[in-house]
Each structure stands twice: as structure tokens, then as C-alpha cells.
């Protein structure tokens, strides 16, 4: 497959960013669809690895976008995709933030929030399922499903920093696989 041009990467991620209701975690399936399924620029397993690397590093979840850019076009790609993912929506946030006091009590704001909430949750749930599936492709699928389920329960029921679950999973990964 021919890798995308910098301009194409930029435009794609601009478009993905404006669809990111619920943040970067909600658009993982859309990124996977465009980058892996439709264009075949990276494999599903590579996608899972890149996501795992962002989780092993501190920082916002949006960094997966930077790593996809890096994989496709090096450092330039990383910078371009990060700016594309954060730039246009930051401008929007800047504008809306200024008008916020006027908006904050409008019934429309409440209606939009209420309307988008279930879509967001459905998308984030979809992201979780996609990540379980892509992780499972690394082999021993059922062990991976159990590990993902255990991590979901652990982080749902405890307030411990997720870093500990990720570290434990890394050790378990080395021991089990």
C-alpha cells in the first residue's frame, strides 16, 4: 500500500477530530476503520501495539494519534497528526469557552449534552471491544480476554492508579505468553 501524504494525514485527522464527541477514546474504531481496514496502511496488530505503547507512557489518550502519524510518516507525521487532532477543535473550544457564560444555562446545551451522552458511551464501549479484539490477535485470545476483563473489573471497582494494573499486566504478559 502507498503510504498517505502528509496533507492527506492532516485532513483525515482534522475530520476525525471534529467527529470525536467524547474525546479521542471514542474515535478509536473510526481510526482503525480508516487506517487499518480501508487503506491497510498499518496492520491491526501494529495498531494494538501502538495503543499499548501510548498506555505505557504518561499523558492524554490522544497520543495514539501521534504514534499513528509517527508510524506512517516519522516525526513529521507525529507532529502533523497531533496538530490536526488538537488544532481545529482547540479553536472551537476557545471560541465556545468565551461565550460559555451565555450558553451555560441554555436548555439547548442540556439537550445536546443529553443527546450526545449515549452516543459517546456507545462509541467508547465500542473502542473497548475493538481493543480487546485487536489485542486478542496477538495469540492466546482467551487468556487476553480474561486479562482484559480482570483489568476492567479491577479499575472499575478500585481507585488505584491504573498504572499499577498496566504494570501488573505487563508482568503477567511476560509470564503467560
Amino acid at each position: 500500500m502507498t503510504p498517505p501524504s502528509i496533507a492527506e494525514l492532516f485532513l483525515r485527522f482534522c475530520l476525525i477530530s471534529v467527529m470525536a464527541v467524547g474525546g479521542a477514546s471514542a474515535v478509536l474504531p473510526e481510526m482503525h476503520r480508516q487506517i487499518v481496514e480501508v487503506n491497510g496502511w498499518i496492520s491491526s496488530a501494529e495498531f494494538a501495539t501502538l495503543y499499548a505503547i501510548t498506555q505505557a507512557a504518561p499523558g492524554p489518550n490522544v497520543l495514539i494519534v501521534s504514534l499513528i502519524g509517527w508510524k506512517l510518516a516519522g516525526i513529521t507525521g507525529a507532529i502533523v497528526t497531533t496538530i490536526a487532532m488538537c488544532g481545529p477543535t482547540s479553536l472551537l473550544a476557545f471560541g465556545v469557552g468565551k461565550l460559555w457564560d451565555r450558553f451555560s444555562h441554555s436548555p439547548w446545551r442540556k439537550a445536546i449534552e443529553r443527546g450526545l451522552a449515549p452516543i459517546t458511551i456507545g462509541l467508547i464501549f465500542g473502542s473497548g471491544c475493538l481493543l480487546v479484539k485487536t489485542a486478542g490477535m496477538a495469540g492466546q485470545a482467551w487468556t487476553i480476554y480474561v486479562l482484559a476483563g480482570a483489568s476492567a473489573l479491577a479499575s472499575y471497582y478500585s481507585r488505584l492508579n491504573p498504572l499499577w494494573w498496566l504494570a501488573l499486566a505487563a508482568v503477567l504478559g511476560m509470564a503467560l505468553f
Binding site: 477530530s17 464527541v21 467524547g22 474525546g23 474504531p29 476503520r33 501495539t49 501502538l50 495503543y51 499499548a52 505503547i53 498506555q55 505505557a56 504518561p58 499523558g59 489518550n61 490522544v62 497520543l63 488538537c86 481545529p88 477543535t89 472551537l92 473550544a93 476557545f94 469557552g97 436548555p107 439547548w108 439537550a111 445536546i112 449534552e113 443529553r114 443527546g115 450526545l116 451522552a117 452516543i119 458511551i121 456507545g122 462509541l123 467508547i124 464501549f125 473497548g128 471491544c129 480487546v132 485487536t134 489485542a135 487476553i144 482484559a148 476483563g149 480482570a150 483489568s151 476492567a152 473489573l153 492508579n161 491504573p162 494494573w165 498496566l166 499486566a169 508482568v171 503477567l172 504478559g173
Partner: protein, 193 residues
């Protein structure tokens, strides 16, 4: 806005950068919980209530939530300079770290040990996202249209693999209308009582 529970402090641009810098490098699996601790508890730039309002704003707008919040908080104190300081503080160090990690990974990509560790991390990270969606779901309004919208979005993406743009164009107008009707009904009930 009601009186703040505690006195809030106005940060300098340098403090904005440093505060978000610290938040960025201390958050694993997402930085929102750390942002709350920094903004409300440690630095007292915002009251708890202001934080919740800004969180709603950051989540309601498209784009990375925490970046949206940093933009708005930075702008509140120092205009667009403040936004740049906050976002740069949040993003720069994690970006450098994650790229460094990715480069290190390239060097050792053949190591079975490393790949097994990453497979473990990938599984756990997937679990963290599932937990996030569960946490959001239990707080969601319990009514039939919310549940059906959630289910439709999930199936359209995971099962039908539809483009997100299509899904949003179909679902968002319907669910926002439902949201509007439920807000109206509440207002009417309030008016009656």
C-alpha cells in the same frame, strides 16, 4: 455562578505551563483524574463546581476532552497566550516520551519478552476503556431512547463497521431531539409544581 467554596488563585502563564506539565506526565491511562487534583485540590485555580462545569464543556465539544479543557482554562486566565501555555505544558513532554518509547520499541521489536509485555498492556488498556464506558453508563439517564441510542451507536461501529460520520449524521439529530424533548418535559413539570 455561586460563591466559590474556597478562594481560588489566578496562576501566572509560567504556573499554567508547569501545572499542566505536571498533570501531563503523571497521568497513565488518561489524565483527567490528575487534572482535577491539580486544578482543584493542589493549585486551587478552580472550585470543584467550576471544574465540573468545564469538564462538561470539554466533553461536550468534539476533540480530546482534556485538551479542550486546557484551552478554556488557559484562556480564562490569560487569553490565547494562556491556552498555548496550558496545552503546550500538557502535551509536549508526553509527546516526546511516547515518541522515545516508540523508537526504543523499534530497536527491540524482535524481543519476544517485550512483545509479550505489550500484549499484556494492550489487554489491560482495553479493560480500562471498558471500565470507563461502564462508569459513564451507570451515570447515564435511564430511559429507553438513551439505551437504544447507545446500542445503535455501538452496533453500527463494532458490528456494521459503518463510517462514524454516517453514524453521527443519523443518530445525533434523533438523540438531540429526544434530549430536547426530555428537557422540555422537565421544565414543564417544574412549572406545574
Amino acid at each position: 455562578m455561586s460563591l466559590p467554596a474556597t478562594e481560588t488563585v489566578v496562576p501566572t502563564k509560567r504556573q499554567l505551563f508547569l501545572g499542566f506539565f505536571k498533570t501531563g506526565i503523571s497521568g497513565f491511562g488518561g489524565v483527567l483524574p490528575h487534572a482535577r487534583r491539580m486544578l482543584v485540590d493542589d493549585q486551587r485555580w478552580l472550585t470543584d463546581r467550576q471544574f465540573t462545569e468545564l469538564l462538561g464543556l470539554g466533553q461536550g465539544l468534539p476533540g480530546p476532552n482534556i485538551v479542550n479543557m486546557s484551552v478554556v482554562i488557559g484562556a480564562r486566565f490569560h487569553g490565547w497566550h494562556g491556552s498555548v501555555c496550558a496545552v503546550a505544558g500538557l502535551m509536549l513532554a508526553p509527546l516526546v516520551i511516547v515518541l522515545a518509547l516508540a523508537n526504543i520499541y523499534e530497536q527491540f521489536a524482535d524481543s519476544a519478552m517485550l512483545n509479550h509485555a505489550l500484549t499484556g498492556i494492550a489487554a489491560a488498556a482495553a479493560g480500562l476503556i471498558l471500565a470507563t464506558s461502564a462508569r459513564l453508563a451507570v451515570r447515564m439517564d435511564r430511559n429507553i431512547w438513551s439505551f437504544l441510542t447507545l446500542l445503535a451507536a455501538f452496533l453500527a461501529i463494532v458490528w456494521l463497521h459503518l463510517p462514524l460520520l454516517t453514524v453521527l449524521f443519523v443518530l445525533a439529530p434523533i438523540s438531540i431531539t429526544c434530549g430536547w424533548l426530555s428537557v422540555r418535559r422537565e421544565q414543564k413539570e417544574k412549572g406545574d409544581s
